[in-house]
Amino acid sequence: MTQLSSKSTQDIDPNEWIDAHSDVLYKYALPRVQQRDIAEDMVQETFLAALKNIDSFSGKSTIQTWLISILRHKIADYYRKSNRETDENIDDILEDFQSHFFNKKKWKVKLSDWRANPEELFSQKEFMLVVKACLKKLPRAIASAFILKEMSDVDSKEICKDLDISESNLWVRLHRSRMSLRQCLEENWFSD
């Protein structure tokens, strides 16, 4: 592998790289960005960045691991762009958000009994479509944290680093995502 680090762009066949690694990169990207066209763009940008910066490949890892780390940064960039909420007013944001769901003390929205057999429920195409639609409805700025959390195996600290937010900001985003997703499922599937 170390020999590769001394290679220049001319020695690399981009076609070979694309044939060998595009599937793996796409499989990594799709759950994390949720949209086929975006995932495709991410893969393309990853190859481009890698081929242009082949000199920075240290040879300590495999090419594929290196490509995935570039892709991870591309995905973080993509999400950071939609990140408009700063850390400073995070308590106010939470307080304001909670007021839609709670009176001073109690819940003010309906929580029905989701009496469901999970296996049966998850095998229903219609239900999974509702989940997908509900996820899509989440504001991207908060959903990014939730999607990254649920769709990748990286820990919270890494997600904070990728999104450039504090941990309390992350918790608030995860809370809002889960509350909103719950509300959407309640209204569109579980309510009679």
Partner: protein, 88 residues
């Protein structure tokens, strides 16, 4: 004393935050105790807890479905190839 105070004063609004937080990291002992007690006596929060667990499970199914389905088509691969080669 403060633990008992927390148990007696925990509101649904704050319990909901602890319940979502619990999905990702362990809570402190006093939060855990207060929450346990609150959930025991509060039906909506009990439901909320169960719903969160279901959401967690559905997300993991969603993830594995997406990973299984994540197959580049030949058309997509050629599009990537064309763009990469043209920009190099």
């Amino acid at each position: 004393m403060s633990n008992i105070f927390k148990i007696l004063t925990l509101k649904c609004k704050d319990a909901s935050v602890l319940l979502t937080r619990m999905q990702d990291e362990p809570l402190s002992k006093s939060d855990r105790l207060a929450l346990k007690f609150h959930v025991m006596i509060c039906k909506p929060c009990r439901r909320f807890k169960k719903q969160l667990e279901l959401i967690k499970r559905v997300m993991s199914v969603f993830k594995s479905n997406l990973t299984k389905l994540a197959q580049l088509t030949d058309k997509q691969r050629e599009r990537i190839r064309k763009k990469v080669l043209s920009k190099l």
